[in-house]
């Protein structure tokens, strides 16, 4: 069996940044396994710009951003295998993978970094009875068709769900000559970034119908139209608000969830809110020496933060290999509450913490003029005023090790939204 110090599953921005960071922190034996025919992950189909302002101080498109990291990985001489699908990971860190040249094969790793990204939610949001005519696509599939296959899947389009991919596809299909009639969103707020609403909808006068959903699809072989209806506070369609919209294509943008088959197969503890693994301050899962970063951990909207998080995972994997383990260390639990839905990490071991630690989270609703407050046990130690927070945008707080050390018996750190 071949063996490597660090095996990285997935060659998207997370896998690439983790690999580069592991190498820079002094480990040479690294292997990236990628199932696609090229490195770069989802960024290869995200040809719009807006990537990398924080990392490179310039605005790049997806493939350009990925290109920078691919170049870095090549320059550092890191090994990777393409067209190679990881099938299974065992708790003793044997990775089982498959490709055309070698068939099924095993690799022994000392540490593993999970970087498999995310996939689109299945058609959950669409519970309409009747036929499934042609012309219904997920927004991500449509993105791949238009941007990589050069094929426009329809001319008159309705988009259900206002996640970023849906918004970006509204603009993309408009530029390609399609008529995007509207974007319907079940919730009373958009799930996408504000800038995407401005640039992708407002710029082209595409209406965003909040608190609306599709209740019926017309057409047997091909979509001929949809029926739109307004919903009440319990997301139930309000009778009498139905409106028929002729169209030949319906795009579903129902959000993303971490690709978690391998994580589940490994038997690691999962976080119900994110659908990703539970991790500690080192981004290590409940399986010792198995780390997670990027969209497989929790779905990000900014690739810059993916790269940053992944670099930490790479560094920590190196530390895990090089340092002796001291078994039982005290742990401080992170408690998300009052509007904060989850935190990454979920718990902190002070001994292993860096000087500062970024804790990322999402909120469950739109809150205006609020504080993001942090409590050490019962005491509020930090509050930050925010004009508005929304579920579509990831938030963060920074914890300092020095500050934590001032509270020797600290058990919990609570993060919550408070009225200002």
């Amino acid at each position: 069996m071949k063996s490597y110090d660090i095996v990285i599953v997935g060659g998207g921005p997370a896998g690439l940044a983790a690999a580069a960071s592991a190498k820079e922190n002094g480990i040479d034996s690294i292997l990236i396994l990628e199932r696609d025919r090229e490195l770069g992950g989802i960024l290869n189909q995200c040809i719009h710009n807006g990537f990398g302002l924080h990392t490179f101080k310039e605005e790049l498109t997806g493939p350009e951003y990925a290109g920078r990291f691919i170049e870095k990985v090549e320059d550092l001489g890191i090994e990777y295998m393409l067209n190679t699908m990881v099938m299974d990971i065992s708790t003793d860190k044997v990775v089982t993978a498959m490709n055309r040249e070698e068939g099924l094969f095993e690799i022994q790793a000392k540490a593993i970094i999970l970087a498999m990204g995310c996939r689109e939610r299945p058609r959950g949001a669409l519970n309409t009875p009747g036929y499934r005519p042609a012309g219904i696509f997920s927004a991500g599939t449509a993105q791949r068709l238009v941007n990589m296959e050069g094929y426009l899947p329809g001319r008159e389009v309705v988009i259900l769900g206002s996640g970023d991919i849906g918004l970006i596809m509204a603009r993309r299909m408009t530029i390609e000559g399609a008529k995007v009639k509207l974007v319907a969103e079940l919730m009373p707020y958009s799930g996408g970034l504000k800038r995407n609403i401005v640039q992708c909808l407002d710029d082209f006068n595409i209406p965003l119908k909040l608190s609306h959903t599709v209740v019926d699809i017309d057409g047997k072989d091909r979509v001929k139209g949809i029926t739109l209806a307004q919903v009440d506070e319990r997301n139930k369609p309000i009778p009498g608000t139905e409106e028929y919209i002729p169209c030949d294509t319906l795009l579903l943008s129902c959000g993303l969830i971490p690709e978690n088959e391998l994580s589940r197969g490994l038997g690691i503890d999962m976080e119900a809110v994110t659908n990703g693994p539970i991790v500690n301050e080192s981004l290590e899962t409940s399986a010792e020496g198995v780390f997670a970063c990027g969209n497989v951990l929790h779905v990000h909207d900014l690739v810059d933060f993916v790269s940053e998080e992944a670099a930490m995972a790479g560094k920590n994997a190196v530390r895990y290999i090089k340092e002796a383990r001291n078994e039982e260390v005290a742990r401080i639990d992170m408690v998300p509450t009052d509007g904060v839905r989850y935190t990454v990490p979920k718990y902190i071991r002070l001994e292993k913490m860096e000087d500062t630690l970024t804790v990322r989270f999402r909120v469950g609703g739109v809150y205006k003029n609020c504080y993001i407050s942090t409590y050490f046990d019962g005491e509020r130690v930090m509050k930050r005023k925010r004009p508005v927070v929304a579920p579509g945008e990831m938030e963060e707080i920074k914890l300092s090790k020095a500050k934590l050390a001032e509270y020797p018996n600290l058990k919990t750190i609570t993060v919550k939204i408070e009225e200002a």
Binding site: I47, G50, L60, P63, G67, E176, K194, R195, D203
Partner: protein
């Protein structure tokens, strides 16, 4: 004095900006996290521009299309002219990131550059 609320599109943070105008002149910008926000606000109220991203067909390559963008931003009103100008463009592989695919697109004085690669088949 006139006040206008804008959302900065300089980066995905999407800061909420308030622009104070004296006639056609910008006198103050608040709400921006970085200097780009101020530049954006000043431009957006006087001469709004955008970067256009799209793709063009490739012949003889290992893929059917490559991604591209306007090298600099172009007037917002010209987005569709740029899109139309790209419709019939076919470029010969190989293509590298940064290659100029079209000069002076739709008379904007701006180049179209490749943002992804295509190797020869």
């Amino acid at each position: 004095m006139e006040k206008r609320e804008l959302i900065c599109i300089g980066c995905p943070l999407g800061c909420m900006l308030t622009v104070e105008l004296e006639g056609a002149e910008v006198v103050n910008v608040t709400g921006n996290t970085c200097p780009r926000g101020k530049t954006y606000a000043e431009k957006e109220v006087t001469n709004p521009t955008r970067i256009v991203t799209s793709s063009v067909k490739v012949s003889g390559g290992d893929r059917v299309s490559v991604a591209c963008k306007t090298k600099n931003d172009i007037p917002k009103g010209k987005i569709f002219d740029v899109a139309r100008a790209l419709k019939d463009v076919v470029v010969e592989a190989p293509v590298c990131i940064g290659d100029v695919l079209l000069e002076n697109v739709a008379d904007t004085g701006v180049e179209i550059v490749a943002t992804s690669t295509a190797k020869r088949k």
